[in-house]
Symmetry: C2
Subunit: 337 residues, 2 copies
């Protein structure tokens, strides 16, 4: 369905494996911090937090902190606490997101809000968020604190921005990029920038890693959006059509709507406003996307941001870390194929 | 209804006025920070935050930061941002609290969650919480950051602890004190301690102000709990019987239950578990509290903590600030009379 060049040998596909291997030892130590610091005397806290934290996430954001530090030859241990802080911010955001979206499933598991209720999810999110700041304070870098408190505020702004765009067909590509830039890419950017902070590198190196993370984050999100309208989505841990049935404004919809004729526009407006959410409607949506190349061009946009991510670290000397970070981008944009 | 000595001249009653006058100039500057930093390009954020922030709260916590700094002769301006940070944490907590409790009214006004929905309240709370850390980072004191991030984690733990005690008649006085110590008193303590931090005083002075705030916070909460079972509660901005109708475990209920006979215990169990919430049931509850002196003794407990608050600052030299802080405690414990 998408204009892809199929690779003959699936083992040629880019993967996250090089990055996972690169940071494996550090990641074990980060995991120890995460498990240690999600504890509390109130049993519900580790129980609920553990459900999500142990629930099969890729821990991509802390991995990016570790890989970025490695790219800059950092050999200390400060980044373990900071990477855990990044993951706690992410986890808190997911808990609150699922309450906001009323989600039942995440990564194929029942959501915490479904099991323990919205109140518990809100409050345990608050706890993890506070804990993330405690971890940063223990590290003691005001720069890291500034980067992550700013990212957190930007994420919350992005979430509110998205809330006010819910089921609004007139959402523009510009506005959508603004939303995912805040909601998704800000934490990717901060996670990578932290790597340069612990390595005590120049502002230019910080900015390069920030750009890498930000562009990678946007690429990841756009590919996620595209996957929702491709049929082999099941393998990605996300059900095809979830976004469609929830009337979510994502780039494929924005492009299909912008490029459609009057009748197509009526279809998309009805879908986004919740009047078309059957399996037949989804099939029709996918057909309309094929006709307008909306998914292909969402993926083309993703490749554009992926390219920018790779270029932003081109100035660093060749290393295993650099190779792994480049392959992570290739993996991000190739997932839909 | 309570064993009070009525003052003949109401003007003799202790008030917050001395503290309000003491910090008026500083508080104007704090208010400027608050109004400035709740802004965002996303209009819903200042709209929703402003509803609560402009909604007639006493700003007691930032006032305590300012008064504590004044007690220690601090004459700088650092505490303005930190006091605003304290108020943002408090506001974020209230927004999330109202979602958790499903509240419709706060301070006599419709709650933000009722007007804009739970999702917006959760996310704007997250935004204010992030902003509070941005303000602390701008101040640059790791000590202040440590104190307030720790307080935030403790508050969230207290909220979860309370959630798991909801409608459970077997909640003990010890457990209840643990909950309000975390939920309410931790931020009072931190707000006061921050005053000593900006004044760069000794750990002993910090601890004294921490104890003042913590005990004052507990006293405040206990009196709030008592007010819910007194008939003139309307004047306090809270409707009598709210806690009762919600089946909230507060100290008056804990004492009435502990001291009651089998029939009384059945009544309280039914009430807390939601099977008795009519006006007649409330009248019966108030009678039962009178018989067991549950409200009087809740107030006696409050006076105990109030006394400890006053004693904890007895070592500081006499000053207008000290007088105001002592009268604030007297006000806190006298409110129910």
């Amino acid at each position: 369905m998408t204009a892809t060049v199929l690779r003959l040998d699936p083992s040629d596909k880019p993967t996250l494996d090089p990055m996972i291997s690169l940071v494996a030892t550090d990641m074990n130590l980060v995991n120890n911090v995460i498990l240690d610091r999600m504890q509390s005397e109130i049993p519900l806290i580790p129980e609920l937090a553990g459900h999500l934290i142990a629930g099969g996430g890729k821990r991509l954001r802390p991995m990016l902190t570790l890989a970025s530090a490695r790219l800059l030859d950092y050999s200390g241990t400060r980044h373990h606490k900071l990477a855990a802080a990044v993951e706690f911010i992410h986890t808190a955001t997911l808990l609150h997101d699922d309450v906001v979206d009323g989600s039942d499933l995440r990564r194929g598991k029942r959501t915490a809000n479904l099991i323990w209720g919205n109140s518990a999810s809100v409050l345990v999110g608050d706890f993890l968020f506070s804990r993330s700041f405690e971890l940063m304070v223990e590290d003691g870098s005001l720069k890291a604190l500034r980067i992550l408190s700013n990212a957190s505020a930007v994420i919350a702004e992005g979430e509110v921005n998205q809330l006010t765009a819910v089921r609004r067909i007139e959402t523009s590509e510009e506005r959508y990029l603004e939303i995912i830039g805040a909601k998704t890419a800000a934490l990717f950017a901060a996670a990578c920038r932290i790597g340069a902070v612990v390595a005590e590198r120049s502002e230019a190196d910080e900015a390069a890693l920030d750009a890498y993370g930000r562009n990678l984050g946007i690429a990841f999100q756009l590919v996620d959006d595209a996957i929702d309208y491709t049929s082999d989505a099941g393998t990605m841990g996300k059900d095809a059509g979830d976004d469609f049935r929830e009337g979510k404004m994502t780039l494929p919809v924005i492009l299909a709507y912008a490029r459609g004729d009057e009748e197509a526009r009526k279809f998309w407006k009805d879908a986004v406003e919740g009047r078309r959410d059957s399996d037949d409607d989804l099939a029709e949506a996918i057909t309309r996307m094929r006709e307008t190349r909306a998914v292909d061009d969402t993926l083309a946009r993703a490749r554009h941001y992926g390219q920018r991510a790779m270029d932003s670290i081109s100035g660093f000397p060749a290393s295993a870390a650099k190779d792994a970070m480049i392959e992570a981008v290739e993996f991000a944009v190739a997932r839909a194929f």
